[in-house]
């Protein structure tokens, strides 16, 4: 029998502010709904208790700057830990799929973290993916992000990773936070095509979403042949969402879930806490559990006129053509600190909307035809004088990239305040503060 796992962690004592969309009340009505429906009594359902993520697992995937003590991570570590608990259950074959119905969300949190952005501090799915790879040897994972906002954090973390396919379907970044996710963003020099962005016109409803899934997203997943599929299950495409302008229904979400068939779904955004969440969470969960979700009907009815089938079909055809026509172009750069090889350079300014500041980041990636390539990120928060450095040796790194990673870590550890070496190849994490190695985690 198929088994569906669920962790419900509404973080009833955590909020980002009294009137903030990410407040205690957010999953209150979802709790009322799923508890009253008795989904935990379905014979194929198993409820798990929330976990707390290990800092080692966090740092393998994300660099927390300037240091861990500057952040209150408790709630975030539980959201991550709960996702990991379901991941473990899946790997042990206790369940065939699962839903981490947790707060806070994570998909805006990227490779380097100076604070909370888009309500996210730690990236639940990204940390989960790298745990599944490091602990269970999973090779290829696809993430399908159905949140209305572009999952720029997840994209950032896996931009250079050819073994993680990141697909995001969202409302066009010109009309909504975080302002990214254009179809020209297709992955780094060693991972070109491992990112697929489908920005949609405001107003697209069930029909348009399902059309994009059927004709573009799922075929792309099929070509990639992932070992696992993870759904970043944001719920803000709903017609009642206060922050976005899409027109999807709860039953549409059920259908989306049925088409994606994710091994694990992780809740992301969704802030129509009364109009949408109780219904969408039910529909997603029932679809995962293989139950009929056609009875899940919102008490409000959709009012905006939906963008018609023909409009959305021709829009998507054009967008696909644009996407396919994009050609990579890289800026190569030589620096005294860079080890041998060709290094592609880029710059990024990352806005932290929750606290209102910017991170400036310079990024170097070793172009490599053997592996994902070692990455160097030199990051700075303007108000914080010192720089912080992330060096990442990727999973399955080639010997040259591995050595380049060690050389870079050595080059920076004396000169910069904080240096983090993510050695994904050897499953090690090293952290230096003021030139001294520190052990912020057990084991």
């Amino acid at each position: 029998m198929n088994k569906t796992g669920i962790i419900f962690f509404p973080a009833f004592d955590w909020s980002l502010g009294e009137f903030h969309p990410e407040r205690e009340e957010r999953l209150l009505y979802t709790q009322e709904q799923i508890f009253e429906e008795g989904i935990m009594d379905l014979p194929q359902v198993r409820q798990y208790s929330p976990g707390v993520a290990d800092l080692f697992d966090v740092l393998r995937t994300q660099a927390i700057f300037p240091d861990l003590q500057q952040h209150n991570l408790d709630a975030h570590l539980i959201a991550v830990g709960s996702s990991l608990a379901l991941g473990n259950a899946l790997m042990k074959k206790e369940i065939t799929n699962g839903f981490a119905l947790v707060r806070p969300p994570g998909h805006h949190s990227g490779a380097t973290v100076w604070g909370n952005r888009g309500f996210c501090t730690l990236n639940n799915e990204a940390i989960l993916i790298n745990v599944l790879r490091a602990k269970y040897g999973i090779k290829k994972i696809a993430v399908i992000d159905t949140d209305v906002h572009h999952g720029d954090g997840t994209q950032d973390i896996f931009y250079h990773d050819p073994n993680v396919l990141y697909i995001s379907i969202h409302q066009d970044g010109r009309t909504i936070f975080p302002g990214s996710g254009f179809t020209e963003e297709k992955g780094g020099p060693n991972a070109w095509g491992s990112v697929l962005n489908i920005p949609l016109l405001p107003g697209v409803g069930d029909e348009g979403f399902l059309y994009a899934l059927e004709n573009w997203i799922m075929p792309a997943v099929e070509v990639f042949k992932p070992d696992l599929i993870i759904n970043s299950a944001g719920q803000d495409n709903h017609f009642t969402d206060p922050l976005a302008s899409m027109n999807v229904t709860a039953r549409g979400y059920g259908k989306i879930t049925e088409m994606i068939k994710p091994d694990l779904a992780v809740l992301e955004g969704g802030y129509a806490i009364e109009g949408a969440l109780p219904y969408i969470n039910m529909a997603i969960f029932l679809a995962l559990a293989g139950e009929d979700y056609s009875g899940v009907v919102e008490s409000q009815k959709p009012q905006n006129t939906e963008i018609g089938g023909d409009t959305i079909r021709s829009f998507l055809t054009d967008l696909k053509r644009t996407n396919e026509a994009v050609r990579p172009s890289w800026a190569f750069r030589k620096e005294p600190f860079l080890p041998a090889g060709d290094w592609v350079y880029s710059e990024k300014s990352i806005y932290y909307d929750t606290d209102g500041f910017k991170e400036n980041r310079r990024e170097y990636i070793r172009k490599c035809s053997h592996c994902g390539g070692t990455v160097l990120m030199i990051s700075q928060k303007p108000s914080f004088f010192q720089k912080a450095v992330l060096v990442r040796i990727p999973f399955e790194a080639c010997p040259d990239c591995e050595q380049a990673g060690y050389d870079l870590a050595e080059a920076f550890q004396k000169s910069e305040k904080t240096v983090l070496l993510q050695n994904q190849l050897r499953n090690q994490v090293h952290l230096w503060t003021d030139g001294r190695e520190v052990k912020p985690f057990g084991g």
């Binding site: 419900f8 962690f9 509404p10 973080a11 009833f12 004592d13 955590w14 009294e18 009137f19 407040r23 205690e24 009340e25 209150l28 009505y29 709790q31 009322e32 709904q33 508890f35 009253e36 429906e37 008795g38 989904i39 935990m40 009594d41 379905l42 014979p43 409820q47 798990y48 208790s49 929330p50 707390v52 408790d74 709630a75 539980i78 009364e274 109780p278 039910m282 029932l286 139950e291 009929d292 056609s294 009875g295 899940v296 009907v297 008490s299």
Partner: protein, 556 residues
């Protein structure tokens, strides 16, 4: 000096004790007649000679009356009428009984989304009138614990149009979920007449013996209510609660331990954390019925001192049934009790017969002392293994309880130092083997053989009041009583809610005959309700309990 009387009706034996001032004055065991629980109880009371006792304070019974009636399908039919609204299909869950469905939708805050359709009600009334003279109807709507409007209106309608009808409403036990609330309402109504007759006759029998003491009934959560106040369905599975309370009465108040109560064919396992029994996060399940009856977190294993030992392809097996008492005390089949006797771990029963019993499991040419000893050891090992696995499962259940707040997860499970409290008729002799397997200190409860009856006798009267308040809609609900009332306090209350619930609890406790000296407050959760960046009210969840426990301790 006033005496407490406790009676625990078990599957095989009924235990009875009379306790005066913490000292056991009388105790005994009589065989249970499962077909006549009332007379079993009366015999137990006679055994204690209540007619001669001067001053009996309370009589508390833990009875299998309702449990048996449900499991043996001896309850009358109830018409189950549902307002399932929208959401999950009814057919997604297994319904052990038939139901009919009516129109009407409520949402998660109790708002009416689609009104009920009274034209359907007329058809229903006609059907009920044709079916039976005195139809029993259980009416349950989804989200009725937030708004009982459909249930109340339909009940009023039926009382007008269906003479002789009895109605029970889901909202009378105002706890999620819809499925369990429906089945619980069904069972409670089905068991009401049976239980009322029983209660009446028991009261008469006690009074006929010149005793005016109040009679109380033990519940699955270890609480106790007066015979006249208990919802019949809440009396199911009180046996394991009795054994946990019995152990509480014989241990230090602050200790943490696993209770292992080994009976004739069943072993019950419970958990006590710093003197408080662990409550299950799910309701009790009885046969095919999932209920919302609050119960202690217990595990039951089909193994006991009288379990039949048989051979399966030359290997010793412990059956999940008994064939009468142990061979060493005159039975027909070898049992774990025979093995314990042969190994001299107890002195209960005849040694010679224990040896014969073990011999029955071996070929004639392999009955040397060392063969017999080895066979006895295997039986004990197998028994202990079964019990140990159940203990591990229960500890796992406790460790993996769901949690919904950051605080709960971060402060999950501070270190408890557990030991094992062993009780029950089948327990003596197993201490060393269990201690060895679990690597936990294991002690035999002093009055092990009547521990359950002690638990019943000394159980505190208890109750809980769980509040759900929505100040935006000015409605409060009490989960346990099903009360739904108007909130006239402030929109953003703080202390006022706690005072309100405390006062309500104290007033209602008097009606239930419960002392509120140790009324405990659970942490209240306040959810500010925000609309368009303004706080428009609050949802407050909180609870007050008179928690399960015992009055005083047994003195040896």
């Amino acid at each position: 000096m006033a005496s407490l009387i406790g009676i625990d009706v078990g599957g095989t034996f009924t235990d009875a004790v009379m306790i005066t001032n913490g000292v056991i004055e009388r105790k005994g065991k009589i065989p249970t007649n499962q077909d006549d629980i009332l007379n079993t109880l009366i015999s137990a009371l006679d055994y204690l000679q209540i007619s001669k006792a001067k001053n009996i304070e309370t009589i508390t019974v833990s009875t299998t009356l309702v449990t048996n009636a449900i499991l043996q399908k001896r309850l009358p039919e109830v018409e189950l009428i549902l307002f399932p609204g929208t959401g999950m299909k009814l057919s997604s869950l297994p319904w052990p009984v038939d139901y009919s469905v009516l129109t009407g939708v409520l949402d998660y805050r109790g708002r009416v989304v689609v009104p009920a359709d009274q034209s359907e009600w007329q058809t229903l009334a006609e059907k009920l009138n044709q079916q039976s003279v005195k139809p029993l109807t259980a009416i349950v709507s989804k989200f009725s614990h937030r708004n009982n409007v459909f249930e109340e209106q339909l009940a009023a309608y039926l009382h007008r149009d269906v003479p002789g009808v009895t109605t029970a409403l889901g909202s009378q036990s105002g706890k999620a979920n819809f499925y369990r609330r429906s089945l619980t309402t069904y069972l409670n109504l089905a068991a009401t007449e049976l239980f009322q007759n029983f209660a009446y006759q028991l009261k008469m029998a006690v009074e006929a013996r010149g005793c005016r003491a109040p009679i109380r009934v033990l519940k699955a959560d270890g609480g106790v209510l007066p015979l006249a106040k208990i919802r019949p369905v809440e009396s199911i599975y009180s046996g394991p609660a009795a054994s946990v309370l019995g152990t509480l009465a014989q241990s230090n108040p602050e200790e943490s331990y696993v209770v292992v109560d080994i009976g004739g064919t069943t072993t019950d396992i419970g958990l006590v954390l710093s003197g408080s029994p662990l409550i299950s996060t799910h309701g009790a399940q009885i046969g095919p019925f999932l209920t919302n009856v609050r119960s202690l977190a217990v595990r039951s294993v089909s193994i006991g001192g009288d379990s039949a030992v048989c051979l399966d392809q030359g290997e010793v097996m412990l059956a999940n049934y008994r064939l009468g008492p142990a061979y060493c005390i005159g039975g027909v089949s070898p049992t774990p009790t025979d093995a314990l006797r042969y190994l001299n771990l107890t002195d209960y029963g005849d040694l010679q017969r224990a040896e014969e019993a073990l011999g029955m499991l071996l070929p004639e040419n392999q009955r040397t002392a060392s063969d017999l000893r080895r066979t006895a050891e295997i039986i004990v090992e197998k028994m202990v293994e079964k019990i140990a696995r159940a203990i591990e499962q229960l500890l796992e259940e406790w460790k993996t309880e769901p949690a919904y707040k950051v605080w709960e997860v971060i402060h999950h499970h501070d270190d408890f130092k557990f030991y094992i409290q062993l009780s029950g008729g089948g327990a003596p002799g197993l201490e060393a083997a269990l201690e060895n397997r679990m690597k936990l200190r294991t002690v035999l409860t002093e009055f092990s053989e009547v521990s359950n009856a002690i638990g019943a006798a000394m159980a505190k009267s208890t109750f809980s009041w769980t509040l759900h308040l929505d100040t935006k809609f000015s409605i409060y609900r009490i989960e346990e009583t099903g009360e739904q009332g108007i909130w006239s306090g402030p929109k953003k209350p703080h202390r006022e809610v706690e005072d309100f619930l405390k006062e309500l609890a104290q007033t209602q406790a008097i009606g239930l005959g419960i002392e509120t000296d140790d009324l405990e407050k659970e942490i209240f959760d306040y959810f500010p309700l925000v609309e368009n960046y303004h706080t428009v009210g609050q949802i407050v969840k909180g609870a007050m309990h008179v928690p399960p426990g015992v009055i005083g301790r047994i003195r040896s």
